[in-house]
Amino acid sequence: MKKISKKVVLAGNFGVGKTSLVRKFVYQKFSDEYLSTLGVKIDRKVLHIGDTELTLVIWDIAGEVNGSKIPTSYFLGASGLIYVIDLSRPSTYANVQEEITYLEGLMEDVSICLIANKLDLVEAKDLTHTQQVVKRTIDFFTSAKTGENVNEMFYFLARKLLQVPT
C-alpha cells in the first residue's frame, strides 16, 4: 500500500459554510478556538483509494482571500483547493473567477474544486441561474446541513489529486 499526504485548503467568503463542510466530513480534533486566533484550523482525514492510503490535511482558512489578517503562506504548498460559494448569497460568487485565479497563482499544480453550498436553501431552478452567473463550472452542489454531496465532493477531489479517473 502506497501512503501519500496532501494539503488541501478551503477558501471562500465568510459564512459560506467552509467550517461546516469540514465538520461534516471529519471527526474534529482541535476546537474552533484556533480559527479565530490563528485564522486557520487544520484537520485530517485518511482515505483509501485503490491501493493508496491518502491523508488529506485540510486547512480551513477563516478570512477573505485578499484579507490582510491571514498570512498568504497558508495557501502555499497546497495540492488541492476547495473554493466554496453560498447559493443563497449572490455576493459570495460575484468574483469567483478572479479570486480563484489569484489563488491559483500562489500554488503550483493545484487541483481545484468549485463548490456551491447550502443546497438545502434554494430551489432546483435557481441552480442553473447560479451556474450562468458563475462562469466557471461548479463541480458540486452541497449542503453541509443535510450532508448531501459532502463526502462525494471530498472523494472527487481526492481522486483528482491522485490522478485517478473521477
Binding site: P71, L76, G77
Partner: protein
C-alpha cells in the same frame, strides 16, 4: 545590622573563598575586555572564512549542477551557509554570557553564602548542596518532525511515545510558524524556538523543509545549540535529495538512530 553580621561571618568563614572570588572577578573583567576587542576580529575572520570556503564550492558546484537540480543544490548549500553565518556569532556569545552569568550567580549571591553556611552546619559539601538544589531536569527529545516548509506535510518523524496525530501537529506547527513569521515580517531563520508549556520546540530551517524537535527538560543555550546542530547535520546529510527519493520510512529510521542515542546519552 544583619548585613554587618553577615559580612563578619562571611569574612571568617570565607576568607579564602573571597580571594578566589576576587580573582575570578578580575578574570571575568579581563575576559570581557578581551572579548570586546576580539569581537570585530572574530566577525571579520568568520566573514573571510565564509568567502574562502564558499566561493570555490559554490562556483564549481553551481557550474556543474545548477542546470541538473537547483533544489538539491540549494538544499546542500543552505545548511552550510546557515551554520556559518546565521547562528555562529549569536550562539557563541550567548554561551559565553550564560557561563559568565552562572559564575557570577554562584559567587556573589547572598543565597549562595547561606548555602555554604548550611553546608558547614550540616557537614555536606557546597557542591552537593548545589547539585541537590539545582534540580536540572534531564533533557529528553520527545519528538522530532521533518516537515515540508510550505505545505506543512510531515515527511519523517520520531517519537519516544505513541502519538497518533502527528500529521495534525505538523500542520498546526506550520501554521503557527507562518503566523509568527508573518507577524514579524521575517521570512528566514527568525524563529528557532517556541515555548509551549513545559516543552520547548526547537526549529531548524532547511530549504524545502524544516525540522522541529519537541524537548522536555531544562533547555539552556548549549542544549539548544547542540540540537540545532544535530538537526542541521541531519538536513544536510539526508534531505539534500530529490523529493521522490525521500521516503518517510527511511527518514524516520535515521531520526530514530540519532535521537535514541541522544536520549540514551542524557539519561
Amino acid at each position: 545590622m544583619q548585613d554587618q553580621l553577615m559580612l563578619k561571618i562571611k569574612d571568617l568563614l570565607l576568607a579564602d573563598e573571597m580571594k578566589k572570588t576576587r580573582a575570578l572577578e578580575e578574570e571575568i573583567k579581563r575576559l570581557k575586555q578581551e572579548l570586546e576587542t576580539l569581537q570585530p576580529k572574530i566577525i571579520s575572520k568568520v566573514e573571510q572564512n565564509i568567502a574562502e570556503i564558499s566561493q570555490p564550492i559554490i562556483e564549481t558546484k553551481v557550474k556543474r549542477e545548477l542546470r541538473e537540480s537547483t533544489d538539491t543544490l540549494i538544499e546542500a548549500i543552505y545548511p552550510l551557509l546557515g551554520k556559518l553565518i546565521k547562528k555562529y556569532i549569536q550562539v557563541e556569545l550567548e554561551k559565553l554570557a550564560d557561563s559568565i552569568d552562572k559564575q557570577l550567580d554562584r559567587t556573589f549571591s547572598l543565597e549562595n553564602i547561606k548555602k555554604q553556611l548550611i553546608a558547614l552546619w550540616e557537614g555536606v559539601s557546597y557542591k552537593q548542596i548545589v547539585l541537590r538544589e539545582a534540580a536540572v531536569q534531564r533533557v529528553e527529545v520527545q519528538e522530532v518532525y521533518i516537515i515540508e516548509q510550505e505545505s506543512g506535510i510531515l515527511v519523517g518523524k520520531y517519537s519516544v511515545g505513541k502519538i497518533i496525530d502527528q500529521d495534525l501537529i505538523a500542520g498546526m506547527l506550520t501554521a503557527i510558524k507562518a503566523f509568527i513569521e508573518d507577524a514579524f515580517n521575517q521570512k528566514t531563520g527568525s524563529l528557532d524556538m517556541i515555548e509551549y508549556g513545559t516543552f520547548k520546540i526547537i526549529i531548524q530551517n532547511s530549504y524545502k523543509f524544516y525540522l522541529a524537535a519537541v524537548v522536555a527538560g531544562t533547555v539552556d543555550s548549549k542544549v539548544k545549540a547542540d540540537l540545532l546542530d544535530i538537526l542541521l547535520n541531519f538536513a544536510s546529510k539526508h534531505l539534500a535529495k530529490p523529493r521522490e527519493e525521500l521516503t518517510e520510512e527511511h527518514l524516520s529510521k535515521e531520526l530514530a538512530k540519532i535521537f535514541n542515542q541522544y536520549n540514551e546519552k542524557n539519561k
